[in-house]
Symmetry: C2
Subunit: 145 residues, 2 copies
């Protein structure tokens, strides 16, 4: 799923798009590159403070917006209030959220992608984006009945 997670690749992606490389941005890229989950802005802020104790949450938000607009990170709004972020460095995928633990599982399904386009077309629209989230509990777990 991950094509290239090196910080240098992210920095290069920024340079190529004319995004100035500051210490804060490099630190955020580093955190994003390491992240195995889908951290929120405050999660990221907390992690980045290890390297940049005085970095502001606003800067984290601003940087994430810049990276989002550049197509380098993806922003997700799962269920509740806050946004979650992940690198957009692999092929498209959707998410299944464990309703009990909040754990997020990534998956792809070409069939469902195709269907979404077909549905939009059927309704007279050209698909420009979509959001598919599945919520579930681990099969065979205690809460079955």
């Amino acid at each position: 799923m991950v094509v290239d997670r090196s910080v240098e690749a992210l920095n290069e992606a920024c340079r190529s798009r004319g995004i100035r490389l500051t210490g804060q941005r490099k630190a955020i890229s580093e955190v994003m590159a390491r992240a195995q989950d889908h951290p929120s802005a405050t999660d990221i802020h907390e992690l980045v403070t290890r390297k940049h104790p005085r970095i502001s949450l606003a800067t984290v938000y601003r940087t994430l917006s810049v990276l989002r607009d550049a197509g380098i990170v993806e922003e997700h709004r799962f269920g509740e209030g806050r946004c979650h972020y992940e690198l957009a460095d692999g092929p498209h995928h959707d998410h299944l959220i464990d309703a009990e633990t909040g754990q997020i599982v990534e998956f792809t399904d070409p069939e469902i992608e195709r269907l979404q386009h077909a549905i939009a077309e059927r309704l007279g629209y050209r698909l420009t984006g979509h959001k598919l989230e599945l919520y579930g509990v681990r099969a065979g777990d205690a809460d079955q009945g």
Copy 2:
């Protein structure tokens, strides 16, 4: 898509669940019954004020929560910040949001429902809920090139 939209049916649904029927709640039910779109809490508040000029936005939120928990209305979080509400009085459907106008089109697709279950199963989960939103622009409109 709509099975029964009469205010009396909603009131009865409340009574049968032990939800006390106040003037405010009846007015909110009335607004929801009439709504052809997917109004936000403030939309609903604004409409309800016609009948109850002193109703508080907090009451609207509280009532919507009560109705949501009772399974009488559904709460959606499309793209941006605020929640949108609709009666849960028909069969399940998903939404396509016009990326330009914000207009919401409802649709159902048994195939996609089936696929979602299949995917969850494949990942070792039992599907308990899902969210599918398509974003698109009207095909053949100006912004094609």
